[in-house]
């Protein structure tokens, strides 16, 4: 009978482990946007990306629609190129869309905000691999302070 009892207890052990795994996978881990496969990429050139990192969020009006896939430096004009991986579900942004690097909160992490532009008659949608033309760089606090002091000197 001891082996029967140990089998039951091992069964309970396995069930507890599965419960722990379920808790981790459902409540703790992000239900990753990149995990469902159907993504397309957009590219954007910035002057300065500040503290943006790979895997930072891409948001439209606060809704996360994708993640930063990778960040590279253009060897010709030495500006960073950010490659965005965006869920296929959101695939109809007009070509006039602008993109900027924003900060969540005063000291929070940086993310990419997309502002969808107007779509006129002959303006198409952004397709896989397109560059977004209209970009605004990250605000760097030191630059801001420098500009502020400089403008005070003028007065």
């Amino acid at each position: 009978m001891t082996s029967r009892k140990s089998e039951i207890m091992v069964g309970i052990f396995v069930l507890i482990t599965i419960a722990a795994l379920l808790l981790l996978s459902l409540k703790v881990v992000n239900q990753g946007i990149q995990s469902n496969g159907a993504n397309y990429t957009l590219k954007a050139k910035f002057d300065n990306i500040g503290g943006l990192k790979a895997r930072s969020a891409v948001k439209v009006g606060g809704v996360t629609i994708g993640r930063v896939d990778s960040i590279t430096l253009d060897n010709d004009d030495f500006t960073p190129i950010v490659i965005l991986s965006i869920n296929q579900e959101y695939s109809s942004f007009p070509e006039t869309t602008s993109v900027s690097i924003l900060t969540s909160g005063l000291l929070g992490e940086q993310y990419i905000g997309l502002q969808p532009g107007f779509s006129f008659g002959d303006i198409g949608n952004l397709a896989d691999g397109d560059f977004i033309e209209d970009t605004k760089s990250a605000l760097v606090l030191e630059d801001l302070i420098g500009q502020f002091l400089f403008s005070r000197d003028d007065e």
């Binding site: 001891t2 140990s6 703790v28 992000n30 239900q31 990753g32 000291l107």
Partner: protein, 258 residues
Amino acid sequence: MINWIANIGARSIDRIATTGRSGLMLFGAIFALPKFKSIPLTIHQIYIVGVQSLLIIIVSGLFIGMVMALQGYTILVDYGAEGSLGPMVSLSLLRELGPVVTALLFAGRAGSALTAEIGLMKATEQLSSLEMMAVDPLRRVVAPRFWAGMISMPMLALIFSAVGILGGHLVGVDWLGVDSGSYWSIMQATVDWNEDVVNGIIKSLVFAFFVTWIAIFKGYDAIPTSEGISKATTETVVLSSLAVLGLDFVLTAIMFGI
């Protein structure tokens, strides 16, 4: 002088021979798996090694999660960042404390018992009698214990992390008043399945391999006297704790280093 040099030589040869013996034993134990007869034996060992460690794992996981929430809260609240309590608790549990503390507790709770059991089997000549009956003790005694350890420890580490995160929720949200939504949602935004959970499981598999190996070998190689067994048991706990802490640094450097 010559004696001193000879002593060094003798010790080195002894160490290398021990390592070789432990490797041979491990090889014999691992490749003894494919036998359906040994599955009930392994399940019984999972009961002894895993299920009976469950209580200490759950209790220490709960309290470590609670303490981390309490300590983290007092620091984070100064910066108004108490919402980051969730990722702090869950990342440190999943990446470090879950695998490491589980392995240390496992070495103390189950590893020492394995060493003492196998060592006593050797001292009372049960292992030799098995050999007399043409039963391979590696296959009958060592292999089920090894596989039970390899299976149990990652499961225990997962339970430890999950219980710790719940303990952090208990203190952080229910007691200190962190918003429950931000506890879970910032955690979900930060924790990654592959990078955090899977790496934690890989860590605890590596720890399981070394802790169980050390425990079994120390028992199998013990001097068959009561003194020898007590020495072997102590060595198991000391050596496997050191191995876990050292390996943890190496694994962390590989997984999360730049």
